[in-house]
Each structure stands twice: as structure tokens, then as C-alpha cells.
């Protein structure tokens, strides 16, 4: 038995060594053997998928119809349905209600005053939890007013208030459906993968055709991107509900519907809120890209500021997005908690005494509308009182740039020479047939012949679309970033789990990094490190760090206290406790965190294309600017395939680890 294991380990080692050696010398070898096709996929073998895909989309948009109702009619109807509540909210929060158009426009009712909105969120915070929360959200909204971000923030808020309920509600429904029908889950899984990993630029053009130009298309794109985590978490949370609770529900004679809504969903509500949190974060993540196709708001402010290199203004608008995310997220969590509790109804008092806060807000609303005619400051925060820290940030970047550029340059050159370029050279040197064979073998070892087939098939598809070299650059850029993100993120997560105060600080940092649009720090990073792969890697690491930290912290915290007690009793020092008990038991969770890190790294590719990388992200971007739907989708699918291969392999690995530690049979 031991001998066999040794043999196996030997074979694995040998294969790894062969792969690396091939990577180093593959190029020369193929030249010597006169078999250039080994390294460079011959263009004569490339199967063109892009033209049929372009034609298919064209047909769908222009001709597809069931009877007299064409496909675009249906999508336009959906767009109309989303547009109505959105317009209402937008008018309420930002534009005001008007009648007539153009010069004949008459304002019937101005938008809700900043004072009223701030009071309302403070009151809502108090209602949901306590004064602490109220103060936090109040401060968030005051920031928006004082820093002159109010108008844009309200436009963004309106789109968030539409996208999040649709994403979270829709995700919940789909999740429940998949929970009830196991076949559904299996069908859904690849669809969710594609929704999450195909870069949005790849399907932007068809979406614009289907849903029309403007905020609705941006909303649809946002919903497509933000819903999958909700579906996944719903399925997982429902499965994790204690079977005894379900049995109990059955025993008292619930119908299927009652069992779902009165037993399962409430029991899983805690996990479900994690999903809602993800939807909110991802929605705000999309703000920049959504603003490119007509959503406007804060995302547009960031883009416009950076185009005129106004780093300070871009930063302030970026922070406004973070602040908005924090306020919306905390409020929605507290609200869900509040809904979970049962509050006895109060009788015998007048409506006004029972609803003091609502009354206050309504009275204020009326007052500002009436008095706002005479004192505009009651409606719009006065421009003369806005603050800005813009110049401070410009000066910070300038100071760093002028004084420390050489240091930055040295760091960059070091990383490039000893870390990034070797990885790149090796990956590009490995002959593609060998790489496909290795992936198939890896799949077979990790998860049997099904996974082997999947890995081999998908990587083969990437090769025959002729995107192999660009795919390898993608793998290199993401791989290097994921390694760095793991090296930084896992220790941070462990620290956050073991030390409460550090945990709070790290949590805030992670939330900020995930919602602060990467564009905001991308431009200063370009100024300090120039355009290139290193800059792209920094952006990816900063963005993809979050799950590595979160999952590691979660895994460490969730190690059962019995096992830790057992460790202490048998005389472990804290260090041994961490190394021998906590870390191994948290390994499956950490692996899942790395899995998510890979996903986020891949989703950043489109952004890094903006600093001039030469990978699949760039391919998608070129396709977008040439309005070449097929080319964009093919490149987008290649990214999705890489993501799926990585996801399946890591998941299989995590399952193996759990089985080894007896956490799963």
C-alpha cells in the first residue's frame, strides 16, 4: 500500500517536472523537430465559431418570432416592465415629476429633498436595529450630500433599488426551483457559471438590441451578473437546513408550499442574507460598466473624472459608491433580521403615535416641498457648502510619483523578472497537446472520468477556436495574481478569525476593496507603475483578495470547539493549535475561497484590458469596439471555460480534502 502510494507520488512529481521542462524548452524543441504546430496552434485547424454565432444572434434579434410576436417584442416588453418602477424611483429621488417636454416642461413636484431622504434612512435604521445603525447610515448619506455626490448617488441608488430586489428575489425563486428538482440544479449549474464568468462586454451589444438603449439594458446586464450567487447560496442554504426541522414540519402536516415558506426559508434566512449581500455588492460593482451603457450616476462620474485625470474627484465618487454599498447592505441585513423577529402588534393607540417615524418623514416631505420654493437649500444641498479633498489625493500621488518612482520601478522589475515572466514563459512554452493531456489526467485523478472528459473537452475547444496563446496569457496573469492574493489573503483571514479587533478592520478593508471601482485605483497605479502586466496584476490582486480572506476566516472560525478543546487538553501551544488543528480543518473552506478568488480574478480581465494586457479580456474588448458579437462571445466563452475547469478541479480537490478529514463521506 505504502509502496503504491510512493509510486503514484513519483509519477505525479515526474509529470510536473516534465511539464515545467517542456514549458522551458518546448519552443526550441518544436523548432528542432520542425513541429512548430506543437507550440503554436496551426491556423489551418482553427474552427471559426464566431460567424455562425454572430449570424445566430442576428437572427434572434431581427427575425425570431412566435407567430406575430417577435423575440424583440418580448424583450422590449420586459424592458418596459422594468422601466416603469425605475422611472418612478428616478423621478422621486433625482429628477422630480414633470409634465410636458423640452421648453414647455413644468415641474409638478421636485425630487425628494436630501433632508428627507437622510431622515428617512436614519429612521429606517433605528426601526431595523438601533441608533448605532441609524448613525452609520445617516453619516453615509451626509457624506454624499456634503461631498457633492448627491445627485449622482440618487441615480445610482434608484438603479440599485430596482436591480437588487429583482436579482435577489429572482435568484431565490430559481434556487427554490432547483432545490425541488435535482435535475434542474444540474442543468442550472453550467448556466450560472456562464452568467458569472462571461465578461459583460461580450454580450453587451445583443443586450442593447434586445432591451433598447438606456438604463434598462444596464439594469438587465447588472441583474445577469449579480444573480448567480443568490441562486447558489439559496440551493446550498436550503440543503443545509437541519433534516429534523424538515421532518418536524412534515409531521405537523404542512403542505409543500407551507413547508417551503414557513419552515425552510425562515430556517435558512441567515445564509440567504449572505446571498443578498453578494447581490448588493456585485450590483454596485457593475456601476462603472453599467454607466458606459447609459446608467449614468456615480459610475459615470468616476469615468469622466479619470478621463480628465482628476484622481481626487474619481476617488471621491468611488468612495461614494462604497458608502452607498455599506449603507444599503447594513440596512438590508438589519431589515431581514427585524423581519425574522415577531413583534406584538400594539393596539388602542392612534396611527400617528404608532408610526412616529413614518409621520415625521411624511411631515418633513410635505414641509420641504412647500418651503423648498422659497429656500432651495431645503431641496438641493447648496453647492457652496460642498467639501472636496480632491487636491489632496492628486498631491499624494504626485508626491509618491516624484519621490519614490525609482523604488516602485525596482520592485516592479524584481517581480517581473523573478515571478511573472518565468510563469509566462513556461505557460506559453508548454505544447498545447501536452497541456490538454495533463488537464485531462488531472481531471481524472481529482474527479473521475466525467471531470476528465470536461477538462479535456473544454481545453480542446479553446485550442480549436485559435485562442490558445491568448488563453495562456490569461491563465498566467490570473494564476500569478491568484497566487499572490492567496499568499496575502489567507494569513489576513486567519488573523481576522483569531483577533476580533483585527477582524473588524480587515472586514472593512475587504468591503471597501470589493466595492471601490477598480478604475479608481487603476489610474494612480498606472502613474506609479506604468502600463503593463504588473499594473494589471495589482488591480486583480486587490479585487480578488476578498474571498481568500473571507473564506479563510470563516473556515478557521467554524472549526468545532470540541476539536480545539481536545487540542488544548493534549497540550498544544497556540501555534501548534493553529498549524495542526485549525488550518487542516479549515483547508476545504480555504480551497473554496481560492476557487472564488480565481472567479473574481477572471472577472477582472475586462478591466485589466483597459491597461493594455494582451489576453482574452483584450479580445473581448476589441470585439466590443468592433461590434463583433460572435468574436466577443467566443472569447467570453473561452474565459468561462477556463473558469469552469478551474472551478471543477478546485472543488473536486476540496471534496477530497473533506473526505480525508472525515467531514464528508
Amino acid at each position: 500500500m505504502i509502496r503504491r502510494l510512493d509510486n503514484r507520488a513519483l509519477i505525479v512529481c515526474a509529470l510536473i517536472v516534465v511539464t515545467i521542462v517542456l514549458g522551458q524548452f518546448g519552443r526550441d524543441l518544436s523548432k528542432a523537430l520542425d513541429m512548430r504546430w506543437l507550440v503554436k496552434f496551426p491556423s489551418a485547424w482553427v474552427v471559426s465559431f464566431k460567424d455562425p454565432i454572430s449570424a445566430g444572434i442576428k437572427w434572434l434579434v431581427e427575425e425570431a418570432a412566435i407567430g406575430p410576436v417577435s423575440f424583440t417584442d418580448v424583450t422590449r416588453a420586459i424592458a418596459w416592465m422594468i422601466e416603469q418602477p425605475y422611472e418612478l424611483l428616478l423621478n422621486l429621488l433625482s429628477k422630480g415629476f414633470t409634465s410636458g417636454q423640452g421648453s414647455a416642461e413644468v415641474t409638478l413636484l421636485p425630487a425628494v429633498s436630501w433632508i428627507v431622504v437622510t431622515t428617512a434612512v436614519v429612521a429606517f435604521g433605528k426601526y431595523c436595529r438601533d441608533w448605532g445603525l441609524a448613525a452609520l447610515v445617516g453619516a453615509c448619506f451626509l457624506y454624499l450630500a456634503i461631498f457633492g455626490q448627491w445627485d449622482s448617488a440618487m441615480v445610482t441608488l434608484a438603479s440599485v433599488m430596482i436591480a437588487v430586489p429583482i436579482g435577489a428575489g429572482g435568484g431565490l425563486m430559481i434556487g427554490i426551483w432547483a432545490y425541488r428538482h435535482p435535475v434542474g440544479e444540474r442543468l442550472l449549474s453550467p448556466v450560472l457559471d456562464l452568467m458569472q464568468t462571461i465578461p459583460i462586454f461580450a454580450y453587451l451589444v445583443p443586450i442593447l438590441f434586445m432591451f433598447g438603449f438606456g438604463p434598462v439594458s444596464a439594469l438587465v446586464a447588472t441583474i445577469i451578473y449579480a444573480t448567480p450567487p443568490m441562486v447558489r447560496i439559496t440551493i446550498m442554504a436550503l440543503k443545509a437546513v437541519d433534516p429534523e426541522i424538515v421532518d418536524f414540519g412534515r409531521m405537523v402536516g404542512t403542505t409543500e408550499r407551507q413547508l417551503m415558506w414557513r419552515v425552510l426559508v425562515p430556517s435558512a434566512s441567515h445564509s440567504l442574507m449572505v446571498g443578498v449581500n453578494q447581490v448588493i455588492m456585485l450590483t454596485l460593482n457593475m456601476v462603472i460598466i453599467a454607466s458606459m451603457i447609459g446608467a449614468g450616476g456615480l459610475g459615470f462620474d468616476v469615468l469622466a473624472a479619470l478621463r480628465r485625470l482628476d484622481i481626487g474627484a474619481g476617488f471621491e465618487a468611488g468612495i461614494a459608491i462604497v458608502v452607498l454599498a455599506i449603507a444599503v447592505d447594513r440596512l438590508s441585513q438589519a431589515f431581514a433580521e427585524r423581519m425574522g423577529q415577531i413583534t406584538p402588534p400594539v393596539h388602542g393607540q392612534s396611527w400617528v403615535t404608532r408610526h412616529k417615524r413614518t409621520t415625521l418623514v411624511v411631515v418633513l416631505l410635505g414641509l420641504t416641498w412647500v418651503l423648498g420654493r422659497f429656500a432651495p437649500a431645503l431641496l438641493d444641498y447648496p453647492d457652496s457648502h460642498t467639501l472636496t479633498t480632491g487636491h489632496f489625493w492628486d498631491d499624494v500621488v504626485k508626491y509618491l510619483n516624484v519621490n519614490y518612482f525609482d523604488t516602485f520601478e525596482a520592485v516592479k522589475v524584481f517581480f517581473l523578472q523573478y515571478f511573472m515572466l518565468p510563469i509566462k514563459r513556461t505557460l506559453l512554452g508548454i505544447p498545447w497537446p501536452w497541456a490538454i493531456a495533463m488537464l485531462t489526467l488531472l481531471g481524472w485523478r481529482a474527479g473521475g472520468w466525467r471531470l476528465a472528459l470536461l477538462c479535456g473537452g473544454l481545453s480542446g475547444l479553446i485550442a480549436i477556436t485559435g485562442l490558445w496563446a491568448k488563453a495562456m496569457v490569461t491563465v498566467y496573469l490570473c494564476g500569478a495574481s491568484v497566487i499572490l492574493a492567496t499568499v496575502i489573503g489567507v494569513p489576513l483571514g486567519v488573523l481576522a478569525a483569531l483577533n476580533r479587533r483585527a477582524g473588524t478592520a480587515i472586514g472593512l478593508l475587504i468591503d471597501t476593496l470589493q466595492t471601490l471601482p477598480s478604475f479608481v485605483y487603476l489610474i494612480p497605479v498606472v502613474m506609479l507603475f506604468r502600463v503593463g502586466d504588473f499594473t494589471a496584476m495589482i488591480a486583480i490582486v486587490l479585487y480578488a483578495l476578498a474571498p481568500a480572506v473571507r473564506y479563510a476566516a470563516h473556515g478557521i472560525r467554524n472549526v468545532s470547539s470540541d476539536l480545539i478543546e481536545a487540542g488544548i487538553v493534549s497540550g498544544c501551544t497556540p501555534r501548534q493549535l493553529l498549524r495542526l488543528v485549525r488550518m487542516p480543518l479549515a483547508l476545504p473552506e480555504i480551497l473554496l475561497g481560492i476557487n472564488q478568488t480565481i472567479m473574481l480574478a477572471l472577472s477582472m480581465l475586462v478591466i485589466t484590458a483597459l491597461v493594455g494586457t494582451r489576453d482574452l479580456g483584450q479580445e473581448v474588448y476589441i470585439a466590443l469596439t468592433k461590434a463583433d458579437t460572435g468574436r466577443g462571445l467566443v472569447a467570453g466563452l473561452a474565459i468561462a471555460f477556463i473558469a469552469i475547469i478551474a472551478d471543477r478541479l478546485v472543488n473536486a480537490g476540496a471534496r477530497g480534502a473533506r473526505i480525508r478529514f472525515g467531514l464528508e463521506s
Partner: protein, 313 residues
């Protein structure tokens, strides 16, 4: 008497004008906004003129290329800045479908070329003549590109044939593509702060030439043959041995605009601005921090005669 007459004429013209509007649709004309100030100013001036002429106008945020999808379906109606240099391909593709029309030039001319800050002239005295670059490529080198010079080109999507140009003119330069406009000028800002060597793709109308002192490199002037025929130009064996083409910035509209708002279409056709005007306005907005709406309002009051002429034709 004279006064009365003019008043009467004004009233009359107002009546005929309003009769004219009645025939046209009161639906808003949708103009697209992008994310650079010049385009915003250009579009908002056009929008203000249309409003003065009695049309309803709506501004829609849209991506430069993705907007063609909207122009084809009629979701969007007018795009004010399609650059010959970067948008021609998309524009031609769109006009070929018959759903989009080219409404002619805006009067703005796009110039795109290699550009360097003035302090580089001391280090490379032969500039702006392109042949000087042959001798002082090393001045522009960085650790990654040495001994070759480093030239920061525009995003790949802008085209520009810089890789080919470097080869054809036998310049010892490596072309590094910035992914976006913002990244491109971040490189310039960074180098300018340190007074370090830099040479990059700059275009006008833009605020950069107003903020930084510098010049365009003078390459052999562009001719269509230079791009298509290898034997033409400095290098007898290769094409692209000349500078970049310069060209107008076009107005593009949904083809239905002409039928739905014929009067507006005429105004749009007449609309012209000049590079100098535009550069001054972009500078005001981006460098002095004046609000775009203020810049537009100023132009409208200063140029009342000009735009009234377009409206009243």
C-alpha cells in the same frame, strides 16, 4: 415705425416657425453623451440650439461604439462626435445597413500623432523631425524596453498602425499599448511630473496640449498610397512609412430623424464648430474646472448670431 415693423416681422416669423414645429414630432430627440468633455460640450451645444428652435431634447449616456446599436434601431437619434480616426469603421458598417446616416462634418478636425513634452527637445535636439528619433531612441528607453525606446500607443482598438510604422521607418522603438485613454494620459502626467522622457500618442481636440507643453513629431505626411502601396514613401519595401491620417469628426444620425424632425435635421447639417473654439472650451472645463453647462451657456450667448443663422434657414 421701423421698430414696429421688425417687431411685426419677429411675431410673424414666430408664428410661421411654430406652425413649422406643429408639423414635426414633439417626441424628444435623443442625443448621446460619452465620457469626454469635448463630446459633452459639442453635444450639449447642439442640444441647446435644438431646444432654442423648439424641439424637445433628451440626453442619453452611451458607449462610443455600442451607441451604433441604438442608432440603428432608432432608440438613439444623434451622435455628435464620430472620429474619422477611431470611429470610421463602425460608422461605415452602420451606414451600410441603411438605418444610420452620416450628417456631415462638425468642423472639428482630428489630429493624432506621436507627441513629446518640450523638455525632450533638449535631450533630443533634432525634434520635431522624425529622423531625430532614430538617433535618440535610447533617450526614451526604460528598464523593460532598453536599448529600444518606449512609445506608448493608444488602445489596440484605436488602430493607428504604430507597430508597422516603427518597423517601416526603422525606428528602434517598442510600442506599448495603453488600454484606455485614461491610462495613456496617466502615463504622460506621471512622466511630466518627474520631467522624465516620454513619447506617446496624443490627439486633439483634447485638453492635454493645453496643459502640457509639447509638440507633435513631424512624420512624412500621410497619403492613402503610403498606407496601401509599399513602394511609396521613405521605405521602398514597406507600407505605413508616414504619419497618421488626419480627418474630420462626423455627425451621425438615425436615418428616421430626417422624416420625423426635418427642420432639426437641417439645423444639425448646418452646425459647425472650429478646433480653436473647442480646445478653448475643453480647457475651461477640464483644467479650470468650469461646469460644462456653464461653458455651453457662455458659448450660446456669445455666438447667438451664428446659431440663429442655422436655425432660421
Amino acid at each position: 415705425m421701423l421698430k414696429l415693423n421688425t417687431l411685426g416681422a419677429l411675431a410673424l416669423s414666430a408664428i410661421t416657425a411654430s406652425a413649422g414645429w406643429a408639423a414635426e414630432s414633439s417626441d424628444p430627440i435623443r442625443l448621446t453623451l460619452h465620457d469626454w468633455s469635448g463630446q459633452l460640450i459639442n453635444t450639449k451645444i447642439m442640444g441647446s440650439i435644438l431646444q432654442e428652435a423648439g424641439y424637445n431634447v433628451e440626453y442619453v449616456q452611451a458607449d462610443y461604439i455600442a451607441q451604433f446599436a441604438g442608432l440603428k434601431t432608432g432608440d438613439l437619434h444623434l451622435a455628435m462626435e464620430i472620429w474619422e480616426t477611431t470611429g470610421r469603421e463602425a460608422l461605415d458598417e452602420a451606414t451600410a445597413t441603411g438605418n444610420v446616416v452620416n450628417v456631415g462634418e462638425t468642423g472639428l478636425m482630428a489630429i493624432e500623432e506621436w507627441w513629446y513634452p518640450s523638455y525632450m527637445k533638449e535631450r533630443c535636439p533634432g525634434l520635431p523631425n522624425w529622423e531625430a528619433l532614430k538617433d535618440c531612441a535610447e533617450e526614451f528607453a526604460t528598464a523593460e524596453t532598453a536599448p529600444n525606446g518606449r512609445y506608448v500607443g493608444g488602445p489596440v482598438t484605436w488602430g493607428g498602425f504604430d507597430d508597422e510604422r516603427v518597423e517601416a521607418l526603422e525606428l528602434d522603438f517598442e510600442v506599448v499599448h495603453a488600454g484606455t485613454d485614461a491610462a495613456l494620459f496617466a502615463e504622460l502626467e506621471s512622466a511630466y511630473q518627474r520631467q522624465d522622457p516620454v513619447i506617446l500618442w496624443v490627439y486633439v481636440p483634447h485638453w492635454a496640449p493645453a496643459k502640457y507643453e509639447g509638440e507633435f513629431v513631424e512624420f512624412p505626411p500621410y497619403t492613402p498610397e503610403c498606407y496601401s502601396d509599399p513602394s511609396v514613401g521613405v521605405n521602398p519595401d514597406m507600407a505605413y512609412d508616414c504619419g497618421k491620417p488626419r480627418g474630420p469628426i462626423w455627425k451621425a444620425a438615425w436615418s428616421g430623424l430626417k422624416d420625423k424632425w426635418p427642420g432639426a435635421y437641417d439645423i444639425i447639417e448646418d452646425y459647425r464648430l472650429s478646433n480653436e473654439e473647442m480646445s478653448a472650451m475643453v480647457g475651461e472645463a477640464d483644467l479650470d474646472g468650469v461646469e460644462i453647462d456653464t461653458v455651453v451657456a457662455n458659448w450660446m450667448t456669445e455666438n447667438k448670431d451664428r446659431w440663429s443663422g442655422w436655425v432660421n434657414q
